[in-house]
Amino acid sequence: MTRKQRRLTLIGVAGCVLAVALGLVLYAMNDTIVFFNSPVDIQAKSVQPGTRIRLGGLVKEGSVQRGADQQITFEVMDAEAVIKVNYKGLLPDLFREGQGVVAEGILESPSAFRADSVLAKHDENYMPREVADTLKKQGHWQGEANAAPKTQ
């Protein structure tokens, strides 16, 4: 093979791999991305039932009910709307009534949600960042009181 042909082979192979990768990424972007919504977003954007989403908000006080075999229901609310969540599993350590939560799963109807994972993956402020942002946007943010101590 000449120098030129060798170079072309290399460029050809590289092009093919990159094209395949690009195709995979674009396809996956359409198919596997999960949007974050607060309860009011679901009404405002009229998210279709059957869509996989991340639902974030506050766990409504007094809404947590534990059934047999770790069947748990609770309500996630923001300033304007409430959605009922069904979940079978263990709740994370930092799950609390009145605190922030993010649940991932399928929206079953505009007011019911089946979660397959519940996250409370956040720092000691008990507030996932997405939830805090939503609350700030809606003007209901009062989280500064329990924020971490600041450097003077």
Partner: protein
């Protein structure tokens, strides 16, 4: 007093770093050996200062000096000793101090290996290293000073985040940082070569051990982090494609590519420009990882108390170094002498394919990790890119690479013969396919992924074994001769084979998770929960009070097909000072698999939620990583890296001055 001295030492280190940056750079330009000789001396002085500073902070932790803000926020007098020590880096300020400590350590090691590195290269390298040190010292002194005092002093500390109160904290961050920061040396060498405008096989031979060492440590650090998350978080998962994990995976992928491309450069004097670019990109990805983890753009256990000023500062460092080095690359790389081309079917051709796949796979992880952040900044829309995205994009790129791996490993340098190589692997193909079919036959109704993945892993392990065997033994060779020959093989050949076998073991461990079993239920004392062939019985729940937490421990007896295997304990803890609950998973190791249980909250009827997993062969995931790192370590002891590069007299630069 010691605390102020530590603070002062840090400022002194900054001043010395400035000297280490400016003087050698000038010396290399003016060709002045006296000025160049400032580099190693100042690098050692910087290291000494930072060590002192680090020890001062450690002392403050050991003495529970609650007049230091950092100690107040992250320690407690009742905290066990090991967490007082490891707690030094279990917070933002301390972890950044560990970062520069390791940065300076690497500079010091380059400084003392003055005989094996040409003086000019050493001076330029240490100057670039000093530039990185300056940036991070400024960052620490201006935004994240660990030595800030509080007046009046607190009576008691606020304790360390309970998730971090684990032996893992003593091991994971140092290993990971040695890996992350170790790539700064490859980066500094690459920039030095660009500044000098010269690059050759000697350069590759000098850089390779640094890259290999950093890579081995990063491998261990990631594996350790993964195992820690697995047993600490209580979710039973070992990799979540979380942005924080991806932040360490990206430099690992680029570093793996770099380890391979330096081989080509060293052996064949080719791929020079690409290797330089890769060295820059690898460390850039390390910096990006530091930014993602430390700036607070992601919420995780890794992002300590967040301050927007810090994020902006690290972003500035990121832009300065990535932009600066890439600009240097764009300006100087065209002046580097191009290496020779080579045949597509050859060892070096295979290594190019390796680099191509690894770099592309790294790019998909990059897109998946940064796209949500970019989208949020641009449109405010919040999305999550999780495991499905990465399984769909990353796996199709990695599986072909793994399929080609044994072939590439067997191909000869310069002119390979594809069919001949494939012939040498007939037995490997045959055995792996037979094993896969056998697994299908036994578990015909199970998931497809497990037998296929295990077959692939087996193929990698056997391919590596085959490489050693066929190099040492051929038909008719007595075994004693073969053994002698095998022992006489270069250490790098052994290292390669062992590291690749490690990849195979990890692949087997990952694939076998498809056979895993999960069960969930509520148990009262005496009740059982069944998951597949495994079953647990709740024996009792024991309350305990320890120095800085109290816990409820559930004792479970594990049965397999009715036979008792042993007991495990899983706990719900409450760390008193922070009022923070955590779950400690209970694990019973059975061969290479594990029975894993964690408990949830107590129910109104007195039962507790129990989640039970059986994870067959799961330990292979981490054992494989360990084997990979050991392979890297064995490669490091190769004669040609130990002895150093022979430099023929006539290729010495005309004005080179021998080291005194």
């Amino acid at each position: 007093m010691l605390v102020e001295a530590g603070h002062f030492a840090l400022a002194l280190a900054l001043g010395l770093s400035l000297i280490q940056f400016l003087v050698p750079l000038w010396g290399a330009r003016a060709n002045d050996p006296v000025l160049m000789a400032v580099a190693p001396t100042s690098a050692l002085a910087v290291f000494a200062c930072i060590v002192f500073s680090f020890l001062a902070l450690t002392y403050a932790y050991l003495a529970s000096d609650f007049s230091v803000l950092n100690v107040v926020q992250n320690s407690h007098s009742a905290k066990p000793l090991i967490y007082k020590i490891s707690g030094v880096w279990g917070n933002h300020e301390g972890s950044m101090l560990l970062w520069v400590l390791i940065l300076a350590l690497f500079g010091a090691v380059v400084a003392i290996s003055r005989n094996s590195i040409p003086m000019r290269l050493q001076a330029n390298t240490l100057a670039v290293q000093a530039a990185v040190t300056i940036a991070f010292l400024l960052f620490i002194l201006m935004t994240s000073n660990p030595f800030t005092r509080v007046v009046p002093a607190a009576l008691e500390g606020q304790d360390l985040n309970p998730l971090l109160q684990d032996p893992g904290l003593a091991i994971h961050p140092p290993l990971l940082y040695i890996g992350y920061v170790g790539f700064s040396i490859s980066f500094a060498f690459a920039c030095a070569a660009l500044i000098d405008g010269r690059i050759d096989a000697v350069w590759a031979r000098i850089v390779r051990p640094w890259t290999l060492g950093a890579w081995a440590f990063l491998t261990l650090g990631i594996a350790m982090g993964s195992y820690w998350a697995y047993y600490e978080l209580g979710w039973g998962g070992w990799w979540f494609w979380d942005p924080v994990e991806n932040a360490s995976l990206m430099p690992w992928l680029a570093g793996t590519a770099l380890v391979h491309s330096t081989v080509v450069m060293e052996k064949r004097d080719a791929l020079k420009v690409w290797t330089i670019l890769l060295a820059i990109l690898t460390f850039s990805l390390s910096l990006l990882g530091t930014f993602l983890v430390r700036s607070g753009v992601l919420t995780s256990v890794h992002s300590f108390a967040v301050d927007p000023e810090r994020g902006t500062f690290i972003l500035g460092i990121l832009i300065l170094f990535i932009g600066g080095s890439l600009a240097l690359f764009a300006w100087r790389a065209p002046m580097l002498k191009q290496g020779g081309l080579f045949a597509p079917v050859s060892r070096e051709g295979a290594l190019v394919v390796n680099n191509l796949f690894l770099a592309t796979a790294c790019a998909t992880v990059f897109i998946g990790t940064l796209y949500p952040l970019a989208l949020e900044v641009l449109t405010g829309e919040k999305i999550s890119v999780g495991a499905p995205f990465f399984n769909f994009t990353f796996l199709p790129l990695i599986v072909p690479l793994l399929l080609l791996l044994p072939l590439g490993q067997t191909l000869a340098w310069k002119r390979g013969n594809f069919l001949g190589t494939a012939q040498r692997l007939y037995a490997v193909f045959g055995l792996s396919i037979l094993a896969t079919i056998a697994m299908f036959a036994v578990t015909y109704d199970g998931p497809m992924a497990a037998p296929l993945g295990i077959g692939l892993g087996l193929y990698l392990v056997l391919g590596s074994l085959n490489e050693i065997v066929t190099r040492a033994w051929s038909k008719g060779t007595p075994l004693s001769v073969a053994w002698r020959k095998a022992r006489g093989l270069p250490r790098s050949a052994w290292g390669t084979a062992i590291a690749h076998a490690g990849v195979g073991l990890t692949v087997i461990g990952i694939a076998a998770t498809a056979w895993g079993i999960e069960a969930i239920g509520s148990l009262k004392v005496g009740e059982r929960l069944k998951g597949g062939d495994y079953e647990v019985r709740l024996e009792r729940v024991v309350p305990r009070v320890e120095a800085n937490y109290r816990e409820e421990a559930a004792v479970l007896t594990v049965f397999s097909s009715g036979r008792e295997l042993g007991t495990l304990e899983t706990m719900k803890r409450l760390y008193v000072t922070r009022g923070m609950p955590t779950t400690e998973a209970g694990i019973l190791t059975v061969g290479l698999g594990q029975v894993y249980a964690s408990i949830g909250d107590a129910q109104p009827d007195g039962s507790i939620g129990v989640r039970l997993y059986h994870k067959p062969l799961v330990l292979l995931i981490w054992i494989g990583s360990l084997v990979m790192a050991i392979g890297g370590g064995i490669s490091l002891t190769d004669r040609r890296l130990r002895i150093g590069a022979p430099v023929p007299a006539k290729t010495m630069p005309p004005n080179a001055v021998p080291a005194e």
